[in-house]
Symmetry: C2
Subunit: 452 residues, 2 copies
Amino acid sequence: MSDVPYKTYLPENDIPTSWYNLRADMKNKPAPLLNPATRQPCTADELGHVFCEELVQQELDNDTKFFPIPKEISDFYKMYRPSPLVRAYFLEKALGTPAHIYYKFEGNNTSGSHKLNSSIAQAYYAKKQGLKGVTTETGAGQWGTALSMACAFFGLDCKVFMVKCSYEQKPFRREVMRTYGADVTPSPSDTTDVGRRILAEHPGTTGSLGCAISEAVEYAVKHEGYRYVLGSVLNQVLLHQSIIGLEAHRAFERLGVKPDVIIGCAGGGSNLGGLIAPFMGEKLRGEKDYRIVAVEPASCPSFTRGVFAYDFCDTGRICPLAKMYTLGADFIPSANHAGGLRFHGMSTILSQLYHDKMMEAVSVEQTAVFEAAEFFARTEGTLPAPESSHAIRAAIDEALRCKREGIEENIFFGLTGTGYFDLVAYQKYNDRTMTDQIPTDDELAVPRAKLP
Amino acid sequence: MSDVPYKTYLPENDIPTSWYNLRADMKNKPAPLLNPATRQPCTADELGHVFCEELVQQELDNDTKFFPIPKEISDFYKMYRPSPLVRAYFLEKALGTPAHIYYKFEGNNTSGSHKLNSSIAQAYYAKKQGLKGVTTETGAGQWGTALSMACAFFGLDCKVFMVKCSYEQKPFRREVMRTYGADVTPSPSDTTDVGRRILAEHPGTTGSLGCAISEAVEYAVKHEGYRYVLGSVLNQVLLHQSIIGLEAHRAFERLGVKPDVIIGCAGGGSNLGGLIAPFMGEKLRGEKDYRIVAVEPASCPSFTRGVFAYDFCDTGRICPLAKMYTLGADFIPSANHAGGLRFHGMSTILSQLYHDKMMEAVSVEQTAVFEAAEFFARTEGTLPAPESSHAIRAAIDEALRCKREGIEENIFFGLTGTGYFDLVAYQKYNDRTMTDQIPTDDELAVPRAKLP
């Protein structure tokens, strides 16, 4: 073993004090959001009906490179940040690989994931604007939990629309949010127009992120003093999540190590976009080169089997259109797919970068993901979230490639969170009743045919 | 806010390399374990049938002050240690107290508690002795999870007898252990003589720690290549857990801070004994003075309402007798009592120290504990385990006393773990269906009347 410690924590006074806006270094900027009625780029005024004012500014700003982190947010960050950069010595040994494996672990907070990095920022701006509360959707529950914690901290009302199948399968997720004072409604519900419409069209539906987004947006727009907040996809979210990559970048500098390949799981892109931000910046500026790999579930393969086109972000088609890799706003991944990473589209920033061949993408099957998760739990101790385990799978595959080729690369991946609330999925894996759910070409063609 | 950072992590090379044996500094040594047949002090040979050899040496050694931590264990520690010493700035602010509140957080590992500190040590010595596997009992499930992780790491078979009511109420705890390869049996079971006897005498019993201990010991004694391991009460466990206090002590030295009052929850004493070890050592040696406070549930009040006497550690009466504060080996706390801290007795070390008036003890009621837990979750972010929340309750009460008296004390408590697997209890609290279960004098008198 080398001189690199198992875990590297930045000192508190070295935690980054600004977020990094990757768009500032992109030559090809991400395409703007379009107003669904006019098909013209959304103005700040239009977005301000849905989102908090300062967040709209962050959303639309493609030029400002650094946004200072307000003191209230950086104080909150100090409760659970810096997160450790971990050298996976035990995993390396168990794989017998010459590769050096590193991961940035974002699960050491009660929300169990990186989502808290953005929820506390969004809650802060909502509070600053004098709002009563915020609404959101949650699928696996990580984002809803993170937002509940943030709202409890700032004394904001928090209204969460939770995808119905998750609501039923994860009563404890619901209970954590309740402990933090949030109001949690299974979606689709009869409390919104769009929910009632979806229920009428698809009786017995177990819901989808796209439905829950529509309901949360409608509630925010129709209630005085409320705005909608979102845990992924948006530019502002990737901006907040850049704290992950910035910390990791500084930690690697302290260690004198340069990662060769950087791997992150990708659903809407919140973790991946944050993790890779400063490294991608160097790559865009031509300063350093890295292989950057997005890992997505084979059951929801936006990058690897989607199309790059304008599409709706929600099933109810009331949200702006985004140009992104998409499977079609009507695509709903199999209910058998565990955990998150269920969004039909992808961050416009990451979509543009992928289109420009600045990064790669792979899709992995669910049982292979849980095989990696169990292996990781037993060797590295931490029980990973299913989402994070997509990155683990890809990192292990890269480490085994290094073993075959006899080369010592530095592999770096994002371990976004813990799997404490995913034990129904682990049980299915342990019982060998888990299956892979890969959509056929026909199943993908139908929702894509409805692209606007 | 002062110069003290929110979180203090020791550098990896400053993690203690030896465990500290508090008994070496005790003038009045803890009373020896007695053989239940002969009522004579247990010999190493006798204990060697039940426990691993090196652990027996640690158990019986009242004189060696420091035990070097083997490299295999200290490497494993580096996966999740050092744990942070946290300054609870947000809690102080929310309470409006002049007190400075610190806590040592042991929940940042998948077992969710401090128990891993001893399980990895015990698994290591079992492996070194060439054993096939180990058996144990678990109540709330923290210890069973920690032992499962440790056994997976060293490739040992792990047989866990889980108190039946926990087994049924906490399927996810069971599933985590299964993910780590452990075999989990609800106790009492029909797989052991003592289990069958208890089932015949108490049909429909939901089990107790005392029953599960008896079953685990019987299984170990009757199966070649197995030994029994225990997560609390024993001297060896407090020895391993001294890592908590040693790290905290060094961190306080770095900060130039001296705690005035040190608070830990107490069930069998594993956390409390480890947390206070170096501080109590200073107190015993007359170097420094600290108030040291044990916090126990009003529903299982060994210190505050028990007697100091020799008693059985298990319901089946097959284990050695220990001189301790006890409610009687037949005492079973109310099934409504959430979480751990359900053992009828207490560490002999801590019992002796309490008897010698070196520490205080308070008991707290369950609803007051959950009130503190929720308050803490909302202010400090972390969802605490019910066990840990006993210490939070007492720390808050001390901080409020400081507020009333207008004095700035340094309050230090152990936050032993997280509450991810305790959400049924949180739900009861949220629904206001949780009750306090305080045994009457008569209810305590009956089991105590059967003391040997």
